[in-house]
């Protein structure tokens, strides 16, 4: 959490295999060779232990990731560009939220050559104090978020430094950071070059730039520009899509985006409130691993077991602590120093047996159905929106919340597989869809129950966009590049339940729409025939058919008045909203609703005025009168 708690960099144990394995392969036996020859040759080809030892040295984490940059999402130029934007934007949003500022972001992609881009991301966050700039942007695994259990977008402290490193490696250009912490302090411009072998940054230049003060109209903020080799393509898995999805999950942010072609796109703010702040929590005994427990025992400042449990864990009170110790054959007054490996193992077993209340959920904050809907409404042009937020749940001792939302109909294409957009802590996940727990949950849900077509083992084929969000203090990603959520049963189950709730709401809506279409059909059938009947009557009686025609039209309207009504689930007529309208998790945009009648005959009955009508159910009564007025006028 605090910057001072710098982690000691332990090199990854698995190390780059090439360097270590090479000598081992050259084990000194030659087919049919004599000992002497072998040993002599060892000098030429192989190495002695002493010689090897001179080459054995610590590998910096930066070096490791520089070689394995695909692990961080820099596999190809296209993805690298996206990952860079993504890391910078995620950091910017985190910073703004932690400082309690409504995020105002500017993202620029400046094409330098065909394959080279300058990525610029500016925020109005708190800024970064001068002495931390090189640490934050110049070192891998340096950050404020790793050592805590708090919900945030970033987790590991790898992202932005890795992006800078990638830029340096592909273009040789340093990272330029502009930062201002308050209106009173000057703007600092720091130019950094990473030294991968030391996992430190070299400062190329460090200047105060008073002239750049107008870049931060709020008086504070950070701007980072990275030059890198990249490729910009629109469509799936593009920067554009990432920003669009970010806007969906973060409707409190305003994002300006300048595309490589110079187009300005604005993802405007839809909600004027910051998401509520979340609390940091201590680990929960459930889901702690034996190794972690041992480590905690070694590091704790407590001297006795009872104090240790109370101090280091959440939800463990004196009673539970006593019970754990008793089951492990120890006492809560046992000295920590006396706890060896065997005791730790017994304690670990005891923890699994003792029931401890679930962790507090104040540390996870859902986006909330309302905000979720406003985000979706803003970026996806459907006609029906439903969202559901599950109550907090726990996997491996870590609380999490699952939310799902769907958009249906409207301008969405109906003959393609539905789009699934996934989020973890408000960050869009764009790669490895099929490996993601949330995508599996979508496949697992039987959408046919809700009136959609779904091929076996596939996503429904319908004008549908499905959104799933997981909020947690620690999102279990399948890899460092944070592309897919790992498949825990607890997580998948919650996802399924959230999707099912949305599905049920959709079903209600579709049923209602079908019912209204039937009514519409009825009326149009009557209306179609009324002209003929009136005319025939006129011919039979020799009188003017107008009176009959009008009387019949009037009756048709009365008899099928339900078309103009909003019906609830049970088909009862209601004035100001049914269960769907009362539901906070549902939005219906009537102007985008498909016509309930298929043929165009009856069409003008239901044709809407050109203006988009807004979402509130109350406007239904207004539209009814308007419709009526229109009909009256056209006759």
């Amino acid at each position: 959490m605090s910057g001072t708690e710098t982690p000691t960099l332990v090199p990854p144990k698995s190390g780059p295999p090439t360097e270590r394995a090479a000598p081992a392969k050259e084990a000194p036996t030659l087919p049919g060779g004599r000992r002497k020859t072998t040993s002599r040759r060892a000098g030429a080809r192989g190495s002695t232990a002493e010689e090897l030892s001179t080459r054995q040295r610590e590998i910096s984490v930066s070096e490791f990731f520089a070689k394995n940059r695909h692990l961080l999402g820099f596999d190809n130029p296209r993805k690298a560009l996206l990952t860079t934007v993504k890391e910078a934007v995620d950091n910017a949003l985190d910073a703004c939220e932690e400082a309690g500022v409504l995020p105002d972001l500017r993202v620029e992609l400046l094409p330098l050559t065909e394959t080279r881009f300058k990525v610029l991301v500016r925020d109005n966050g708190p800024g970064i104090v001068r002495k931390q700039i090189e640490n934050v942007f110049g070192r891998l695994l340096y950050g404020s978020k790793f050592h805590r259990l708090k919900m945030s977008r970033g987790q590991q402290g790898i992202g932005i430094s890795a992006a800078g490193m990638y830029g340096l490696m592909t273009t040789g250009k340093p990272v330029v950071i502009l930062s201002r912490t308050s209106a009173k302090t000057p703007v600092h411009e720091v130019v950094l070059k990473m030294d991968t072998s030391r996992n430190r940054a070299d400062i190329v230049s460090d200047e105060e730039r008073p002239g750049e003060a107008d870049r931060f109209p709020d008086g504070h903020g950070t701007e980072v520009s990275i030059e890198l080799e990249g490729r910009h393509l629109k469509g799936r898995q593009s920067v554009d899509e990432y920003l669009e999805q970010t806007a969906i999950a973060n409707p409190h942010a305003r994002i300006e985006y300048r595309t490589p072609t110079g187009e300005e796109i604005l993802f405007d703010r839809a909600v004027e409130e910051l998401p509520p702040d979340t609390e940091e929590i201590k680990p929960h005994p459930m889901g702690i691993e034996l190794g972690t427990l041992i480590q905690m025992l070694e590091r704790t400042s407590a001297t006795q077991l009872g104090a240790f449990f109370k101090q280091e864990f959440c939800r463990v009170g004196p009673t539970s602590a006593k019970e754990i110790c008793r089951r492990a054959g120890l006492s809560d007054r046992s000295w920590i120093k006396q706890v060896g490996h065997d005791e730790a193992e017994r304690l670990y077993a005891a923890i699994q047996e003792v029931r401890v209340p679930a962790p507090p959920t104040s540390c996870v904050q859902a986006i909330g159905t309302k905000t979720l809907l406003s985000g979706l409404l803003k970026e996806v042009r459907g006609e029906f929106y439903a969202a559901s937020t599950r109550p907090p749940s726990v996997y491996r001792g870590r609380p999490f919340i699952i939310e799902a939302a769907i958009a249906y109909g409207g301008d969405l294409p109906g003959d393609e597989p539905s789009r699934v957009i996934r989020f973890a802590n408000r960050v869009p996940l764009q790669y490895q869809q099929s490996a993601c727990s949330s995508f599996k949950a979508v496949l697992e849900t039987n959408w046919r129950n809700y009136g959609l077509t779904q091929p076996r083992g596939g996503v429904p084929v319908a004008p549908l966009t499905v959104m799933i969000h997981m909020a947690s203090v620690w999102v279990p990603f399948t890899s460092e590049s944070k592309e897919a959520i790992a498949d825990y049963d607890e997580i998948r189950k919650e996802m399924r339940l959230a999707l099912q709730e949305c599905g049920r709401k959709l079903q209600t809506y579709l049923n209602r729409r079908r019912r209204m279409a039937r009514q519409g059909e009825r009326r149009s059938a009557f209306l179609r025939y009324i002209g003929e009947i009136a005319k025939s009557c006129g011919e039979l009686t020799g009188r003017d058919p107008t009176a009959v025609h009008e009387a019949l039209l009037k009756q048709a309207e009365v008899k099928t008045a339900e078309v103009d009504q909003i019906l609830d689930d049970e088909g009862r007529i209601i004035d100001d909203g049914g269960s769907l309208a009362r539901d906070e998790g549902v939005v219906i945009v009537e102007s985008r609703q498909g016509r309930p009648v298929e043929d165009d005959e009856g069409g003008d009955l239901f044709g809407e005025g050109g203006a988009e009508r807004s979402t509130s159910r109350r406007s239904a009564s207004k539209s009814k009168t308007r419709r009526k007025a229109k009909r009256g006028g056209s006759r």
Partner: protein, 393 residues
């Protein structure tokens, strides 16, 4: 629609149509019939208009044409239509289209009558066929949709099809010792060659009058092929009779003509039909009327008609070969059982006849007698049966 009024009308119509009338009165009768029909059509339009303006759901009451609404009048020995009615409403999704079609045909008929013209059922379909304004929907999708509506209109108004100036395509032929006057043209049915005289759809006295008649009886056969056999053998000349044919289930024109000849010329009617449920039913339609047109039985049925053959027992009596057997299908058996259950088949002779056929397990066509000789049926079978009065009723 006032139902009582209609019943009264219908009775008067029968009398006017049924009696022997001279040419002048018949024209007058036709005119008065037309006036009456138009009056009913205007009433129909007026009722619907008034209901609509009164804010009620407009409707037409249509007598039900089904077994459930068919009464077997044991005294008169004919089928009669009961009082059950079905109300056809406009504001009922299942009936709206039919309601519209009923009104459309009604106004079409009115126009026909006013212009003094007649149209076939098919032409009537075309006359009322158009695309509904502002839609792609047609008023009728085919003649099969308009025909039943016209029948509905007939029963609803209590006016016959011919009174609505609509006729069916003709079917059925006649030859024999009789002269008729068809719309003023004298036609000698003795000189019709091999083709015969096609029986028109409308054979009311206003169109067809009877002239000289020597015939003593009428032989009605099921279909054209058998009729051709009898005509080629000049059966009608030899036996001084009238020979008719109805192309299977006889249309209204044929039935009406049979009835008029039977009634006005006093000729008994003998039927030669196949030995199968369909033949049996044709006989029953000629004899006491059909369920569908039960309202017309009064002027169509011939309760004294006799069924000469083919009889189920003929297989043994005439020693026919196995080759003529046509096995009864499941459908035949079902139909036979249905027919046996009709109250008007509830007499010993018929129950026995059907039972025998069922026991045989096969049916026989009239043509099966060809196996005994080309002219066996005309020279031996029918003469023998008639001489022996070997028939059932």
């Amino acid at each position: 629609m006032a139902t009582k009024k209609k019943t009264v009308h219908r009775k008067t119509t029968r009398k006017a149509a049924g009696g022997k009338t001279s040419a002048s009165t018949s024209t007058a009768g036709r005119r008065s019939t037309d006036e009456r029909t138009i009056k009913r059509l205007v009433e129909l339009g007026g009722d619907v208009s008034a209901t609509a303006i009164g804010g009620e759901d407009p409707f037409v009451d249509i007598p039900t044409r089904a077994l459930s609404n068919t009464r077997w009048n044991t005294r008169r020995r004919i089928l009669e239509m009961g009082d059950a009615r079905q109300r056809r409403n406009l504001f009922n999704l299942g009936q709206a289209r039919k309601f519209m079609q009923t009104m459309l045909l009604a106004s079409g008929c009115k126009e026909l009558i006013e212009q003094g013209k007649t149209l076939s059922l098919r032409s009537m379909y075309y006359k009322s066929l158009h695309t509904i304004a502002g839609t792609k929907e047609k008023t009728f999708t085919g003649q099969e949709e308009s025909d039943p509506i016209l029948e509905d209109l007939e029963v609803a108004l209590g006016s016959l099809r011919e009174e609505l100036h609509v006729f069916a395509s003709e079917r059925g032929k006649v030859v024999g010792n009789l002269t008729i006057i068809d719309n003023g043209d004298e036609i000698d049915l003795r000189r019709m060659g091999t083709g015969g005289y096609a029986i028109p759809s409308i054979v009311e006295p206003s169109v067809i009058k009877f002239g000289k008649c020597e015939a003593k009886f009428i032989l009605h056969v099921e279909k054209g092929t058998v009729w051709a056999r009898f005509n080629e053998d000049r059966f009608w000349k030899k036996h001084n009779c009238i020979l008719t044919e109805g192309g299977g289930q006889p249309p209204r024109g044929v039935r009406r003509l049979l009835r008029r000849m039977h009634e006005e010329l006093g000729l008994p009617v003998y039927c030669l039909l196949d030995c199968d449920p369909w033949g049996h039913y044709i006989y029953s339609v000629i004899k006491q009327g059909s369920m569908n047109l039960a309202f017309e039985s009064e002027r169509m049925a011939i309760p004294q008609a006799k069924f000469v053959g083919i009889r189920a027992g003929d297989y043994q009596t005439y020693g026919l070969t196995d080759d003529v057997q046509i096995a009864l299908s499941d459908r035949d058996v079902t139909r036979a059982k249905q027919i046996a259950a009709y109250p008007w088949f509830d007499n010993k002779a018929w129950q026995k006849e059907i039972k025998t056929m069922m026991r045989n397990g096969f049916k026989m066509e009239v043509e099966s007698l060809i196996t005994k000789g080309i002219s066996f049926v005309t020279e031996e079978y029918v003469p023998a049966k008639l001489a022996a009065k070997d028939w059932i009723e």
